[in-house]
Subunit: 233 residues, 2 copies
């Protein structure tokens, strides 16, 4: 039986490793797309390679797109400071780690590849519980993109299929995501979450992304096997 194809946005982080496992379990032949967008945590690209390899994707592409040239985010601008020690989600403002239009750009590239592949399913690992502050991690954004995809492409307009943007983690918390991934055999030691790793790729343990990850593993009574700068974490 020929499997349907899916494009999976794979950052190398914990969430995207989980959606890749979910897409695979859903019976899709998975094409993983990783974007090298000028993020300071480039170590995640190597993690994406390892995750893609461990999950036997049909193909893994790494696209370079220099969003850092635009700036506007602590994740791409070395002059900006990544907040440490307190979860930004307790702040009513959108965190400085927000990258302008990042998920719109990523989904656009996934759509371009999907159309060429004849894939109509695109997976993205956004979830609103932990990152309520990011506008492009909300269900209304995902729905609007799906609507756009079905107007934007020859494949949809010519009736070859309808695009579906899958965001299976949307309503899940971090611990729940990890539990799901472990059930599906995800090896989280291959993944990277830290926004501000040192030059050896070790996680800071203090940024939002590290804190959410560490808290989730602790909630599950598990030890996170990622490498941290402070070995006592």
């Amino acid at each position: 039986m020929v499997k349907n194809r899916a494009v999976v946005l794979l950052s190398g982080g914990l969430d995207s490793a989980t959606i890749l496992a979910i897409a695979r379990q859903g019976g899709f032949d998975c094409f993983a797309l990783t974007c090298l967008y000028g993020q300071r945590h480039r170590v995640e690209i190597e993690c994406a390679r390892k995750v893609a390899g461990s999950m036997k994707v049909a193909e893994h592409r790494i696209m370079t797109i220099d969003l850092a040239a635009f700036g506007g985010s602590a994740l791409t601008d070395p002059e900006k400071v990544v907040p440490k020690g307190a979860l930004a989600q307790t702040d009513p403002h959108i965190p400085v780690t927000y990258v302008p239009a990042r998920n719109t750009v990523f989904l656009s590239l996934a759509l371009a590849w999907a159309e060429v592949l004849g894939a109509f399913d695109i997976f993205i690992g956004v979830h609103q519980a932990d990152y309520g502050g990011y506008p492009d991690c909300r269900p209304q954004f995902i729905e609007a993109f799906e609507r756009l995809a079905n107007l934007a492409t020859a494949a949809a307009v010519e009736g070859r299929g309808m695009y579906r943007i899958h965001a299976p983690l949307l309503d899940m918390g971090k611990a729940q995501i990890i539990r799901k991934g472990l059930e599906l055999g995800v090896d989280y030691s291959l993944t990277h979450s830290c926004y501000d790793p040192d030059d050896r790729g070790r996680s800071c343990g203090q940024c939002d992304s590290c804190m959410l990850r560490l808290r989730a593993f602790a909630q599950l009574g598990l030890k996170d096997s990622a490498a941290y700068q402070d070995v006592h974490l």
Copy 2:
């Protein structure tokens, strides 16, 4: 008086030179964005530089984004043939020069830059009269992207403004576009339209884009000053 900023997608072609002139006439401080996406007609990038210079934009950025890696279009795949000698618009199918999700990718990048610049106006030179075959040149696509932009970004969600996607050429024909541009002082000799130029950058005169351009200049009783391979055109 401080002018509002606008991001203008500038390909180096005739249409985008015209929208830059329209945006400038509309009182915007213009930031031009050109995408080097693996198109075979890269000569248009040099044209974009000249057009941006002649119109005194506030800034001109050239972004590299390798859509050719995905393939799927005669414009990015050297194995595919650009149709010559008959307008593809007379064919009910979407032309092979369609680049999957191209305008979605371009608008996403324009949105990313606009958000960083504090711009809420984005100009794109699509028009449906000549290119009815391209799904991402239709008003419903533009409207869907505008809706997405206002859900996707911190600037919109935090109420700093509402994005507007301007497609002022949408209902215009090519001759009408040129007439408008000439009124606004556009120098069309700086622009490039051909999909398949030779290695000296001269236009073929036979592809859809050349035929539409030549026909429009002829309708206006004007001579096109672009360089053609056949000097008798």
